[in-house]
Symmetry: C2
Subunit: 332 residues, 2 copies
């Protein structure tokens, strides 16, 4: 963990910032070195491939600070990286967090959100960098190990494989819509929203807003999919249409969907193109094996949404084209 | 490697940007997956600890685009991370590169500089992220393996150890001064500059400017220091005073320097507080063992600059206080 001195005023501010970060995070086990040296020293995954991914969240592009608490930004930055490891059927191990443009008043909240996500996913934050800058950027890099199986790539789907999604889509986009509409009071909400019917007595709007603020990475589901014979997998980060197109293109197949599960309170458009749901979409040859793998793990069964077909150009939902637009339309 | 769609106009621009990146970088060996999936899949260091570090370079903080070519920014972003691995006595393995705020016209140059550094240091760029943003941020995370020895921390120096630096200091700060003075034509240069006396017929200004634009990470020197029994090590990134203070504080010792080697054309102030030289400073018990380790590696002998003392408060050069200010004064 290096800290650019300019981020806070002078050396005392720098030392204070590092202390805030160190106090907010877990301490390393015996034999490992985390924050405080040029590099962290950690145990790698013994005898397994190492997974490596990086994803940044950028103020004004991926979030706006009048819609999210800064601790939500910290959570989100780590969770989206954990989701990349989940989409390989892997387990997260260690993360490095680089923060640019955080005011001194933001550090504590950011670290709190990061630490909450790190605890939730069993992923240690072992270092990073801190620098001044004009807008907040939280850039995370993460390592992981493949589960008991090999890593699940995007490229292994074959014609005839069934397609699954691990949960309903559209929550995050709907949550963002609700937050914006609350901000821009008086403006009417968009038409065509599925009526929200709370099942467990919770406020359905709150569920959607939480999905936007604190997205959940599906690590257990990714492991279950890998154990269930998943041939290809990706997380829904930019929108089902875009992400499934990536999987289909990498695999050289087409996809034909019947319907997709839509979150209560979300529109069909939000489910198909909203993105940031971080549910996993995967292909598998044997649906019974998938079902028993998820059941053995104590997980809700994934929803079968369609199949892989031979024609590599096809991207259909029913008789319609699957929308290839995603979150770039969501933030102005 | 994920690419935020908004970075370039539309899906075609995104695909073009990824292709530019992929073409500009090396391809993975059999059995590894680099760019193109949710995470890269790589072989970890067998049976060794994994080193992890991250460092970002930020426009307006660490560089200005009227003084550096964008390919220099790419080089610098990777080299400063390799330097963190070198400062542990390690070898770089894999890097993830997250670029925020690069215009479509910058991608090719950035990737060229990154790829040149990756080749120079035998470090593979295996993934990353690309996002729009207001100013250019290049955030790199790197993995490494310790050499034949354990990783060299900052905290192992003891009273009586000798202190060494791997080369003359101040080049980078002097190079920046020259570039600025060329930009602000007519403005007089600062006083007190050591007269430049080119030894090998090269232009001494060009050598200094190159040190600023294309800093060299001292990987071989770090390995030789580790093999020579280095007890603590750090790279000179923020300035000798600051970085040596970090080493001394982590080790619980004081430091007393005789003099430090100053690059031809650099001022004493630039050598002591300039930073961004990326030479390594290390402590070692047995100077003869250090000398023979560097000689065996075919490297220029490191320069002995002082020693570690018992009083943990002391930070002296001769009878003066070692300046604890660094690069934060260098960029306005």
């Amino acid at each position: 963990m290096e800290v650019a001195s300019a981020v806070v005023s002078g050396r005392d501010g720098e030392i204070a910032a590092i202390e805030t970060i160190r106090r907010g995070l877990r301490q390393p086990p015996q034999g490992e070195i985390w924050i405080g040296d040029d590099a962290a020293v950690v145990a790698g995954p013994a005898g397994k491939h190492l997974l490596l991914a990086a994803d940044a969240v950028v103020e004004g592009v991926h979030f706006e600070l009048d819609l999210l608490d800064v601790s939500d930004v910290g959570w989100k930055a780590l969770a989206v990286n954990v989701s990349d490891i989940a989409a390989m059927g892997g387990r997260p191990l260690h993360a490095l967090v680089t923060v640019v443009g955080a005011g001194a008043d933001m550090i504590e909240g950011l670290v709190r959100g990061l630490a909450e996500a790190a605890d939730a996913y069993g992923c240690a934050i072992v270092g990073g960098d801190l620098s001044s800058g004009e807008r907040l950027v939280v850039s995370v890099a993460i390592t992981g190990s493949a589960g008991d199986e090999e890593a699940v790539l995007r490229s292994g789907a074959r014609a005839g494989d069934a397609l699954f999604v691990t949960g309903p889509l559209g929550s995050s986009a709907a949550g963002l819509r609700i937050l914006r509409s609350e901000r821009d009071r008086g403006a009417p909400g968009p038409a065509g929203v599925t009526p929200a019917t709370p099942r467990d007595g919770g406020d359905p709007s709150a569920v959607l807003v939480a999905a936007y603020r604190r997205p959940v990475a599906r690590v257990a589901e990714g492991l279950a999919a890998a154990a269930g014979g998943a041939t290809a997998m990706i997380d829904v980060s930019d929108g089902l249409g875009i992400d499934l197109d990536r999987l289909a293109t990498a695999s050289g197949i087409g996809v034909v969907l019947d319907a997709v599960p839509t979150a209560t309170g979300a529109t069909r458009e939000e489910a198909l193109a909203g993105g940031e749901d971080y549910e996993l979409v995967f292909a598998a040859r044997d649906p019974a094996r998938v079902a028993s793998s998820f059941e053995a793990a104590g997980l809700r069964a994934p929803v079968r949404i369609g199949e892989c077909v031979r024609d590599p150009e096809l991207r259909l939902i029913g008789a319609e084209l699957l929308p290839a637009s995603g979150w770039e339309h969501r933030l102005s």
